[in-house]
Amino acid sequence: MGVIIGPRVIDAGASLFSVLISPVAVAAGFPSPAQDYFDGRIDLNAHLIKDITSTFVVRVTGDSMEGAGISDGDELIVNRALEPRDGCVVIAVLDGELTVKRLRLTSTGVVLQAENPKYPDIRVPALSELTIWGVATRCLHHV
């Protein structure tokens, strides 16, 4: 028994997540009864990326978002086209740097919250005074 691993994806920048793996185990020597049921591979692009033009991948440095399941070295899938809402994990521009925080829109103003008690909240008078670079939709956590 062996599993067919499909051809490698070329480094074209176009399909970051195409992992080509046949879902069936193939017995050597006689045709697999499952092969008639093969109807395409799982394409991570299709499942993880809603809009290819506005989606970017970034890498996290630091531990301030650990409470949200985002660790140092993890990759985040970021959609720039999404409207930032209360509770979203966002990439914000702070002091000329891209920073990941949880966005809190409250009656008293905007708060950028860390998910680690070691780090203080950052208060911003209004959303308009903040540059939101994008909204994180997935974390690719290294296990």
Binding site: D11, A12, F56, L98
Partner: protein
């Protein structure tokens, strides 16, 4: 009243500098220049760099000594990044019009229809969408002809009152005349230095002068091409679409099909032909390309389902080899949906550089191919990294003639997994 179709010209402001800023916010508001191949001279300047009096083409060695005092940042050309950002912008623009002509890496023409209110609203929608989705600023000019659309875009860029979108028909006639009277004739699309001097001799100094010139006289004294420009400035559309263009740093090859192509196999054939033609064109100009962008677009009829697939391929080395280019162009095929009516396809080659002293690979190519050396080299490189093995001169790690100096290149944020943008969690 039946409205004539209009042409929107969209281009990214200071494209290379804006692409850099999209991923590095610390560059916002600072004077920034992007350098040409081999870090030779400034090819793109941010508005702050322009304000310092830095000219296009100014050599870097002259600027470097004063960079610190000015707070000037220089970046080497990052064509992988620019190619990907360009493909994203073009794909997004394709959602606003089925009729899209990619004109260069940072500009496109779109066929649009509607009353003045609708057209202006569309212009602002496009501008906002590109800023938000891709993170780069664009300006939009909309007019009955390509030449006027380009002119309107220029006004939109240089005149804050337009808010980045300028619609020809909503600018009052006297304002247009004033603007045209102030614009030197060489600011018009297609009019370059030598031609300007000859026009000046005839008393034609501004765009307004050129609009007032007799088109037939212009044709006789100059060319049909310049006559078309005059007619276009008067509102008669006559510049044909989709000519092959070669610029300083890019080659675009795109054509419409007489009958739509509906299969990936059909597009494979078309892309192969374009790649080989592009290869011949590169060879003719003594150039090689490092980045290839392939795209296709469905036919511009409303009842068809629309799609504008595109891919950006970073070639393993600069090349004009038809086989390599063809293979790279085929990266588009998995993105092509069978059954849709594709009306055009094209290739854009960027990161062009003069053909260097290449290792004499061609002489050995066939023999090596038989022994499967190509795939073996590829496997070793994949496993142990690029530059760990190579044929002849290609095996030497540094000092290759074709290796470009790019000391100040930013990460290839969107095309290389080990160079992703970093976000701080602190």
């Amino acid at each position: 009243m039946r409205r004539m179709p209009q042409i929107a010209h969209v281009d990214v402001n200071c494209f290379y500098a804006s692409a850099e800023r999209a991923f590095d916010p610390s560059l916002q508001g600072r004077p920034l220049v992007v350098l040409s191949n081999n870090d030779g001279c400034a090819v793109t300047r941010s508005p702050e760099a322009k304000a310092l009096g830095i000219a296009t083409g100014e050599p870097w060695f002259k600027l470097a000594p004063r960079a610190k005092e000015w707070g000037l940042v220089a970046k080497s050309s990052n064509y992988e990044l620019y190619g990907d950002i360009s493909a994203r912008v073009m794909e997004l623009l394709g959602r606003y019009s089925a009729w899209l002509e990619v004109y260069s890496i940072d500009e496109a023409f779109l066929g649009v229809k509607g009353g003045p209110g609708e057209l202006l609203a569309l212009g602002y929608r496009v501008k906002e969408a590109v800023r938000r989705h891709v993170g780069v600023p664009v300006c939009v000019g909309i007019a009955p002809t390509k030449t006027l659309a380009k002119l309107c875009n220029k006004w939109a860029k240089n005149n804050p009152a337009f808010g980045g979108v300028c619609l020809w028909e909503s600018v009052p006639a006297e304002v247009r005349e004033g603007l045209m009277a102030r614009l030197p004739v060489d600011e018009i699309w297609g009019i370059a230095g030598r031609l300007t001097k000859r026009l000046n001799v005839l008393g034609i100094f501004t765009v307004k002068d050129l609009v007032g010139a007799d088109p037939v006289l212009i044709r006789d004294r100059f060319s049909v091409v310049l006559m078309r420009t005059v007619l276009e400035l008067r509102g008669t559309s006559c510049i044909p679409m989709e000519e092959e263009r070669i610029g300083r740093d890019q080659l675009i090859f795109s054509r419409s099909f007489a009958t739509p192509v509906t299969t990936a196999a059909g597009l494979r054939e078309v892309l192969s032909i374009y790649a080989q033609q592009a290869s011949a064109r590169l060879a003719k100009h003594g150039l090689q390309a490092k980045i290839l962008t392939a795209f296709a677009a469905t036919s511009p009829f409303r009842d068809n389902e629309q799609a504008h697939p595109s891919v950006c391929v970073s070639l393993p080395m600069p090349t004009a080899d038809p086989l390599l280019l063809t293979k790279a162009a085929h990266a588009l095929l998995p993105h092509v949906r069978e059954g849709l009516k594709y009306a055009k396809a094209g290739l854009m080659l960027t990161d062009l550089r003069p053909t260097g002293n290449q290792p004499p690979l061609e002489l050995f190519e066939n023999r090596h191919e038989e022994r499967g050396i190509g795939p073996l080299l590829e496997d070793v490189s994949r496993r142990f990294g690029r530059g760990t093995i190579g044929l002849g001169h290609a095996g030497i790690k540094s000092g290759l003639d074709w290796t470009m100096k790019r000391d100040m290149r930013s990460p290839r944020y969107t095309t290389h997994w080990d160079e992703l943008p970093l976000v701080k969690a602190a």
